[in-house]
Every structure is written in C-alpha cells, then in structure tokens.
Symmetry: C2
Subunit: 182 residues, 2 copies
C-alpha cells in the first residue's frame, strides 16, 4: 500500500501519557494533507480467571468518558518493561491477585486512525490472592469486581462493560467455553 | 464509583478529527492530578459478508502506525449523522458494496484511558456491488480486500489484520460459525 510521506512534523503536546503530533503528509496522488497523531507507549491487559472460575475485573472512573466502567486489569508499559511483567504488575496492583502462568492471546492497535497505542492481551487461569496488598499508582482508584461469564455478558448489555479490550476478552472466553463444550 | 471532579480544563489542540484537552482533577482522596484527554466524534464499523461468503475488508495506510493494515470498513460519524447511515456510507465509499440490511452488534470505547472514541459495530450479510462507483474522502486511499474467515485468521497471525475492531469482528464471525455448527 502507498505510504504517506512526512513533509513536516510538529509536536503539539507532550504529556505524561500521550504525545500529540501534527504531520503534514504527501498523499499517493501527490497532494498534501494533515494527520493528527497521538503517540502512546503501548499497554497490556490480562484476562484473569480465579479459582471459583470467575473473571477478575476492575471498576474505574474514566475521565475521558466522565463515568466509571468495568474493565479487565490493564496498564501502560513502562519504559523498558517486558509486556509479561506489566501484565502481572497491573494484575497485582489493581486486584491483589497474582499468577505464575500467563498465556499470550493477541495484540491490537486500539484506534489506528489517530493513535499508535498497541495493547497486548494475556490470559491467566487460576489466579490467586496475594497475602500482602500491593501499592498501586497513587492517582489510580480501582475497585476489583468478580463476575461469572454470564454476568459479564449482562454487564456488556447494560453498558457497564463498554471498552474494546474487555468486550474482546468476554467474547474470547465465550468462544473458549463454546469450543470446550462443542 | 467516585467521580474525578474537574477543577480546570484547557484545550491544547483543536484538529479536524480530535480535540486534545488537559484537565486538572480532584481525586477521591482529595489530591489533585492531571488527565490528558482526546475527544473524538465517535465512529462506526461494519462487518460486510458478500454473496461468496467472503468478508469485505479494506487495506489502508495508517500514519500513526507508519504502515498499512487491513481493517473492516469504518469511519467517523459526521455531525448529526445516524450511525446506520455512517455504516452504509463508509461501506459504499470504501468498498463499492452496499446493503439494505444492517444488524447492530455492539459498541465499545476503543481506549477509555485517554480517549472518548466510541465505535458502533454493525453486521451486514449478502452485501452486493453498486453499479456506479461512489466518490470517497479525497485524502483517503483504501483498497478493498476480500477474505474467507480462514484467511482472515491467518492475517491476524501475520499482523496484517492488527486493530481492535477488526480482530473483534473476526472473533465474532468465528463464534457465529461455531454456534451454527455446534
């Protein structure tokens, strides 16, 4: 596919999490256009299933949405951090559960039209509670929520589960169960 | 869940597609923090299946990724536009296929940590070719690609299909087929 060649690139905003950039590009037809870009370090999410066969999720207020939603545990990759380490760190910090076994599922760009955020999804069966609580990010307030697959499907209908990675995760679990039963 | 109350809000950038905002917020513990927010008008995507039972996708260069990927047809909602209209418009502009029947599947926030982009997913069976080609956005260069479900699953493994909505779509189709066969 034809590239869009960068003619000029201007950093508009450099935040703690995102960098916003405006690129002037040359299009395949020779004309020029502008692309609004959000640079993101990438993220990791984990689908944790506990010993009662419940999905461990977290409820969190999301400022961009001005509401709280229920999501699988996730977080951005720190500089130099391996995604597997991020996955276990976020699981421990957000839910107080941990695991010794991660299974890699897939990775996807969340919104390729304007952002380069890539999220890696892992699955962990039989997660178990830590004895000592872990201290998470000081500006993050999350509440663990445990749900059966049926409850999670209802939460999607009720728009309490409402984001790409978590809806993907529930669909993945549903397909997994169907495969086991079929 | 505890709200994060806005103390100050500064618009950093107002583009054609996104608006970037920096909000100072009061946290549940009384401390303050900053939230970097990307406002987006929302988008619609469509899972089109043609008469040969192939998925109709589009290959497109994505500047934020500096590469092209293969996605289901999608586009942002224009001001005042109904999502169903966006779905058919994008299908026609990007693939030259159309449909009279849309089935609503789900909606999700693509990246709730920093963006409010909500995408609505529709499904269309038996899409058929338009007689007259439709003119799309003048700065958008897309190439239609038709794939069987098996080919699409390989494209995910090969990272040619690599974004949330399309990987969700393929998983949805896989589950649908499993349900039909089970």
């Amino acid at each position: 596919m034809n590239r869009e060649t960068t003619i000029e690139s201007e950093v508009i905003f450099k935040g703690k999490i995102i960098t916003v950039q405006l690129d002037k590009v040359e299009l395949p037809n020779g004309k020029t256009s502008y692309r609004e870009l959000v640079k993101h370090p990438g993220a990791v999410a984990i689908i944790p299933i506990n010993l009662e066969n419940k999905i461990v999720l977290v409820e969190q207020y999301r400022k961009p949405l001005e509401r709280s939603i229920i999501e699988i545990p996730a977080g951005k990759i720190e500089v130099g951090e391996e995604p597997e380490i991020t996955a276990i760190r976020e699981l421990e910090e957000e839910t107080n559960y941990t695991t010794a076994q991660l299974k890699y599922i897939t990775s996807f760009y969340t919104s390729p039209g304007f952002a380069n955020e890539l999220i890696h999804i892992y699955y962990a069966n039989n997660v178990y509670q830590l004895q000592q609580p872990i201290q998470g990010d000081e500006d993050e307030f999350v509440k663990p929520v445990e749900m059966t697959l049926e409850e999670a499907k209802i939460a999607i209908k009720e728009k309490r589960i409402y984001d790409a990675k978590t809806i993907y995760a529930i669909t993945y679990l549903e397909m997994k169960r169907m495969r086991d039963e079929c």
